[in-house]
Symmetry: C2
Subunit: 298 residues, 2 copies
């Protein structure tokens, strides 16, 4: 097992798999960062072999960054946070992988994000980026809300904001909704004047394509555009409700994570903002922390 | 050119391409059905070669049904209604096809459906099945509304109703909406008690999968289920508005087509129902009629 040369204690690697990136960080037993690596997407729901490939690649980059040999992966204790592993079938696929580590502990990306945000303590998180969801872990009790994916749920997320605004502009072009500053911004974004020009660019596209429209909606909402305000307020109201549901199990700490966490803040409930604390560490830290916990239980 | 043995006039074939089926009917110059054929999907937006294959296959079946030889396709005057041919690129791809007909005239599936519904006369149609859209043609002026596709638009369609009810049930499972008869029906349809069970069956699925939920929503709305009623009324209100927009260009006749046309009727505006007339002929008739019009202009 890889050990810190000074302390003689084992090294841990925390890996955060995501829809666009996989981040790996090697920590010493004293939480010092020894090396980091970033590779491509690692979401088991969208491909198992790509997930394994990205975990392997980010690990190798982190080892190299730490000045270690690739073979040293066999001595690391790994913690991995992945989407979808609450589905038993996927969980089994992952833990049966012939992984390159000494030990591997797998949990949901929500769990590792939450552990990271509160540096190991109990708490709740809301993640609002391309998608949205809520998670709390208090005295071993887990609560997982939303996150049903585009276009089924994920209210208040970037993709949801984008879908709402695209719908509104298409309704306007058909004469069902009025023109606002938002309309003009969206038409100029798509460089078109008609519905077909928008549909051609959005039909069949992934949530990421829709999420790119979120910035326009938020800017227009700040400029008091009526339609944009309506959309942003509806999304923020859902996120506030999500937070209040999480508060019901009395998490000692609450953080928000993701690209939309800050932009949405002005429209969140005052009771929600009052409980908001900064995230203390990244999800990779949470993953390594989880691995250490599980490893010490052995 | 194939001619009616009695009258010596040319034969026309009308072809209606769709997302699931391609229907072809050979008509005499006196509108008598000479032969029919049905093949697989023919939507150029979802594949050009499959579209050509289905047009060819349905034509061959219609020829066989008419007791004609396959080679006789080279003597037919064809009219084809297809989705997406209002996109110039797709229109060019279609008309440049080395088709098996004497002449081929292509227009949108909305146009041929409208000609069919009014047996050649001016008028308006609303199509509500898996998707929804409106179309009117009056004195050569065309109006085309909605039909932006799932999940971007198509309000009041089967897929839209299905998406709304899935969202509502997922919100209920997270504690954001109350339980109604609809909830129970949907959970039993998916044979699950939790959100993950629904998400697994719907994530990434096509509009057709969502449209299968429409029947449940409509039945629950009839039984006065509050949530189902809210969804159905919102969808029907949009369809009514769609009709009123079409009425603005004063179509002499108005029909509704598609699997949801009749089920939605109880919730449509009285002004809309008052103007509703039955469809007089199928889209294939419209396609053949269009071909004859264009052919006689030559």
């Amino acid at each position: 097992m890889s050990v810190n040369q000074t302390t003689g204690k084992p090294l841990f690697i925390g890996i955060d798999g995501g829809g666009s990136k996989c981040r790996a960080t090697i920590y010493s037993s004293e939480d010092a960062v020894v090396g980091t690596g970033v590779a491509g997407r690692a979401n088991p729901l969208h491909g198992l072999s790509k997930t394994f490939e990205s975990i392997q690649a980010s690990t190798e980059l982190a080892l190299r960054d730490a000045g270690m040999n690739l073979i040293d992966s066999k001595t690391l204790v790994a913690g991995i946070g992945l989407a979808g592993v609450n589905v038993p079938r996927l969980y089994n696929d992952i833990v049966n992988w012939e992984h390159p580590f000494a030990h591997m502990y797998v949990t949901t990306d929500l769990h590792t994000a939450c552990i990271g945000a509160h540096k190991g303590g109990d708490g709740a998180v809301i993640i609002t980026g391309t998608g949205s969801c809520g998670y709390a872990n208090v005295n071993g009790k887990e609560l997982c809300l939303g996150g049903h994916g585009f276009a089924l749920g994920d209210k208040g997320s970037g993709a949801w904001l984008g879908l709402q605004v695209a719908e509104q502009v298409l309704l306007y072009l058909d004469g069902f909704a009025k023109e606002t500053a938002l309309t003009e911004r969206v038409l100029s974004y798509f460089n078109t004047k008609d519905a077909m020009g928008i549909v051609e660019q959005l039909a069949g596209q992934s949530s990421g394509t829709y999420a790119k429209l979120a910035r326009i909606v938020l800017e227009c909402a700040h400029a008091n555009d009526e339609v944009a305000l309506g959309i942003v307020k509806e999304g923020a109201a859902y996120i506030s409700e999500l937070a209040r549901k999480l508060f019901e199990i009395e998490p000692p700490r609450f953080s928000m994570i993701g690209g939309l966490a800050e932009p949405l803040a002005p429209w969140l409930g005052k009771d929600v903002i009052a409980k908001l604390s900064p995230t203390l560490a990244p999800p990779e830290f949470g993953a390594a922390y989880y691995a250490r916990q599980q490893f010490q239980k052995k």
